[in-house]
């Protein structure tokens, strides 16, 4: 009888053999960004064309390759150079009618009008750990994940390590939660492992809701098994036999691919009873979120899984002690789990060597806004904002100047040009008045009004507040009203003073993280761009030319 590990080896050999036999590989990005530009039609056209021309090549749909602004993105990996990344050709903006030309070029020169260099800083400056497979494997095939070394870390841990050793390895890696707050992951696992009581639950928070953030979606769409493997390892480490993935329903493709991944993993015996022939059991289920941002807050998420209204409750007790149905519960974010398999596969020392002293590893960012190369990137912690925005992102458009970058979504802040050289790590961003957050990075140039930006985020918090506690429910609405008055030119210093005090009060007294951080976009813009607020208030003038500051004070209708 073959063990599961041997079976994984056989699958790997078979996939590699098939890939070699198939010849060249054409990868078409079919993640949500490119798919919205009809990359599925491009894939079909390429498939039809290869069949017609009898070219020795396989066309596959893959996950996100990063450069979303250039979609639909297609890559061509020549057969001879499967291991040599430099030989990979990248194409941008590919249309179905480009298929004949592309297929014809397989043996010859690249199609010049579509080609983009894989030597662009956008690609060369990145370090891919979480996204190592994204864009390179078919996310709907467990075999392809296995062929990249997938589920080996799990088998190794199950067979060779105790749960405590797994926790120890994660602690030693220095991994911190990628959902936003940066709590040490190893410490969280150790706490849940230590708490007595059964059953225990493991939950994956995939309720990614920040405006401008699509990291978790891309991971789930591009490499879902990595998240499952991370969760199974976590469940082993803490002793859980039931788990939930709380995934927002607005991500139908991620729902579909994760569903396939769970089925495939069950079929392989990597989920369910007696995983890999050991005594470990784990059942994983998807729970769909109905579009409430607050359900990303862990206690609200738990309430939602339990079937209640998704509202947070005061902590303590923390979910580690009393979480889902009152049981000890581990909640981590998608990207956190996605970091777990490589840490166990390559060792905590390898991981801890990436990044900075207090922020280890890499971080995935969704780069968007007024930047040339919008898309999904992964960089080592400690890279400066300038390198990310100007080298990788390509800077702002011609004729415009960079003004600020917003990190951390509605809980974060805006960092001005003067601070572009700070390293991107949890502590430096915090010092600059923002947060790492889940990885949204929105670039703004001189055409962005910072008061209006603050107002946008406040509107978001206002409409996403669950309404349970007064400071968040009524406070965000009031702050939104005051910001509106500033942008329409009817505010005085009295309104600004009230806004400042409300920021302090809402931040200090709100029940959960949503309200506690809701004032951050206002506070950080007040800190760095107070002159813009004053221009609206004193001169009734919007420096960026965005707001119409001509409303009459008598007609204030808010």
């Amino acid at each position: 009888m073959t063990t599961l590990t041997e079976e994984l080896d056989q699958i790997t050999a078979k996939v590699q053999q098939e890939q070699q036999a198939a010849g060249d590989r054409i990868n078409v990005c079919v993640a949500a960004g490119c798919l919205s530009l009809h990359s599925d039609a491009v894939q079909h056209a390429l498939e039809a064309e290869t069949k017609k021309s009898a070219a020795r090549c396989a066309v596959r749909g893959v996950g996100c390759m990063g450069l979303c602004s250039a979609g639909p993105v297609v890559s061509h990996e020549p057969a001879a150079s499967a291991s040599n990344e430099n030989a990979t050709r990248l194409y941008r903006g590919v249309q179905p009618e480009d298929a004949p030309q592309l297929v014809a070029s397989l043996q010859g020169e690249p199609v010049a009008k579509l080609a983009i260099s894989s030597q662009l800083p956008f690609f060369t400056r990145q370090t891919k750990v979480v996204l190592e497979n994204s864009g390179r494997i078919n996310p709907e095939s467990i075999e392809e994940y296995i062929a990249t070394g997938g589920y080996r870390a799990l088998m190794h841990a199950l067979n060779e390590m105790t749960p405590a050793e797994v926790v120890q390895e994660i602690s030693a890696s220095g991994l911190r939660g990628r959902g936003g707050a940066g709590y040490p992951t190893g410490l969280k696992w150790a706490t849940v492992a230590r708490v007595a009581g059964a059953p225990k639950y493991v939950i994956c928070n995939a309720d990614e809701g920040d405006p401008g953030a699509f990291m978790d979606r891309s991971v789930l769409e591009g490499d879902p098994h990595r998240v499952l493997e991370g969760m199974i390892l976590a469940a082993y480490a803490i002793g859980a036999s039931q788990g939930y993935i709380y995934l927002r329903a607005e991500y139908p493709l991620a729902v579909k691919r994760l569903g396939i991944a769970i089925r495939e993993a069950k079929r392989m015996g990597l989920l369910g009873s007696d995983i890999g022939g050991t005594r470990m059991n784990l059942n994983l289920e998807i729970r769909l979120g109905a579009g409430a941002f607050v359900c990303g807050e862990e206690t609200a998420l738990i309430a939602s899984i339990e079937g209640h209204r998704g509202t947070p409750h005061p902590r303590p007790p923390y979910p580690a002690e009393s979480g889902l149905w009152g049981s000890p519960t581990l909640i981590n974010n998608v990207e956190t789990y996605a970091n777990v398999p490589p840490i166990l596969r390559r060792g905590s020392a390898w991981y801890a060597a990436l990044g900075t002293a207090k922020s280890k590893g890499t971080k995935v960012f969704a780069l968007s806004g007024k930047v040339r190369n919008t898309g999904l990137i992964e960089v080592p912690m400690g890279m400066t904002l300038r390198e990310i925005i100007f080298d990788i992102g390509g800077g702002v458009d011609e004729g415009h100047t960079f003004k600020a970058v917003q990190t951390g979504g509605p809980s974060g802040g805006c960092i001005p040009a003067a601070q572009l050289d700070i390293p991107v790590d949890y502590d430096s961003l915090m010092q600059a008045g923002s947060i790492m957050g889940s990885g949204g990075m929105i670039v703004m140039d001189d055409s962005s009004c910072m008061v209006n930006v603050a107002r946008f985020f406040m509107e978001f918090c206002m409409s996403e507040s669950c309404g349970k506690c007064i400071p968040c429910r009524a406070g965000t609405a009031q702050m939104y009203g005051l910001l509106t008055r500033i942008t329409e030119g009817t505010a005085t210093h009295r309104e600004l003073d009230l806004l400042t005090r409300l920021c302090d009060m809402v931040g200090a007294t709100s029940l959960c993280g949503l309200g506690q951080t809701a004032p951050n976009p206002v506070l950080s813009t007040l800190r760095y761009f107070k002159n813009e607020y004053l221009a609206h208030i004193e001169d009734k003038h919007c420096p960026a030319g965005v707001c119409d500051c001509t409303a009459s004070i008598a007609e204030v209708a808010q």
Binding site: A554, E555, V556, A557
Partner: protein
Amino acid sequence: MNEKKTLATTWLDGCSGCHMSLLDMDERLIDLSQQFDLVYCPLVDQKIFPPHVDITLIEGAIGNEEDLEKIHLIRERTRILVSLGDCAVTGNVSALRNPFGADAVLRRVYGEPTGTLAQVPKIGLPKLLSRVRPLHDYVHVDLFVPGCPPSADTIYTVLSELLAGRMPDLSSVAHFG
């Protein structure tokens, strides 16, 4: 020469009930009146708000453009401005129209009762503001006297303390709202 303090009172968007309560001080008013000169009041025949007033009691909220103009002028000319009664302090009954809007009020008052011939007067009616708001939304207020209306006792405390040069403590005589 004149060491008496000057006192002004006026009503804006209100019902004049606070002034009735003021008169309810009865005979105490006679004693009190020895201590001030009443320089402006809806109950006396003075048309122009005088330039320097020590204490002004304002009843009612800001509901139309005339109120708005008045309150800025009064604030400019007054040392101690008092919001007298709930309409001045919170908007109260005057502000009940706010959820419906000014147009709905005009239609109801001038339109519905008299049928098709009805129309909103074009002259002599100050333009209504979209929202009725308390005084302190527009100007700095020095003292808030709640009540609908504030009792005669409360007003007596307010006036006698202010005339004596002290800021009254209303925590034991008044109730918010």
